[in-house]
Symmetry: C2
Subunit: 156 residues, 2 copies
């Protein structure tokens, strides 16, 4: 079980690194049904100039298309960073059964960081497990923001 | 001012009625910049088989495309039903400055119905005004769900 969840989180981490290479805040996500990955996503906010293009939204949209339904009751979601309110809301709307996340987000997190939407009185709340490969998930973000700071310091 | 906000809510109501005619839960939304409507959306969840295709998400995506940016700081959003967590989160992410909604949603609302995300410690929270043309906004929903019940009763 521990092996499986780390396998899927590593897939999400690969997508986060792909986002970093593209100059996006590095967050990656996969949606899994049984043992199959049915949706992959990574942050594309700058590329698409779209407020909604977070990793989870992309992965959920891909899973919706792959399974030809908005209902993902039998799916689990792995994401490198704690979901924001929009993504936590999309997880509720898609009725995803379980969420695994890596690093906590004390600034925007909606699964414990700022609020916990999955502890509120909404229907179809998923099970929630945080801290999967947390150090690696956090390192990808730290490295990206560290790089941005170095770029800025070179310019000033 | 009261005239303006009712004008824009009537545009959103027209979109909600369009959704009802298409067999979707009738919610409509417009995004306004200055006096110009830069995004229109209506619920397309069944049509697109997508958990994310709520009216607000469609209107925000259209505004992002029209203005070629994910940042909508100088925009206001009008929606016939209180936003759910996903849509309230997208409003935060897009940095929309003000939200006007029609009917409350005690089951899914994230602007006071179940939780109020705009009262939590997130950055870029919009101003919020509920109850604009509330009776008309509620009537569009009641009529839709009443019709569904009549269809079901015919079948049983």
């Amino acid at each position: 079980m521990a092996v499986d969840r780390e396998f899927y989180m590593r897939q999400a981490l690969d997508l986060a690194r792909e986002a970093a290479r593209a100059g996006e805040v590095p967050v990656g996500c996969v949606v899994v049904r049984g043992s199959e990955i049915v949706g992959r996503g990574r942050n594309r906010r700058e590329e698409k100039r779209s407020a909604a293009s977070h990793a989870e939204m992309e992965a959920i949209a891909q899973a919706n298309a792959a399974l030809d339904t908005w209902r993902l009751e039998d799916c689990e979601l792995y994401v490198t960073l704690e979901p924001c309110p929009m993504c936590a809301g999309a997880i509720l709307n898609a009725r995803i059964s379980r969420v695994w996340y890596g690093a906590r987000d004390p600034a925007f997190g909606a699964c414990g960081g700022v609020v916990n939407l999955f502890m509120e009185d909404f229907p179809n709340r998923p099970a929630l497990v945080g801290g999967i490969l947390e150090a690696e998930c956090r390192a990808v973000l730290s490295s990206f923001f560290g790089g941005l700071r170095r770029e800025r310091d070179k310019l000033t």
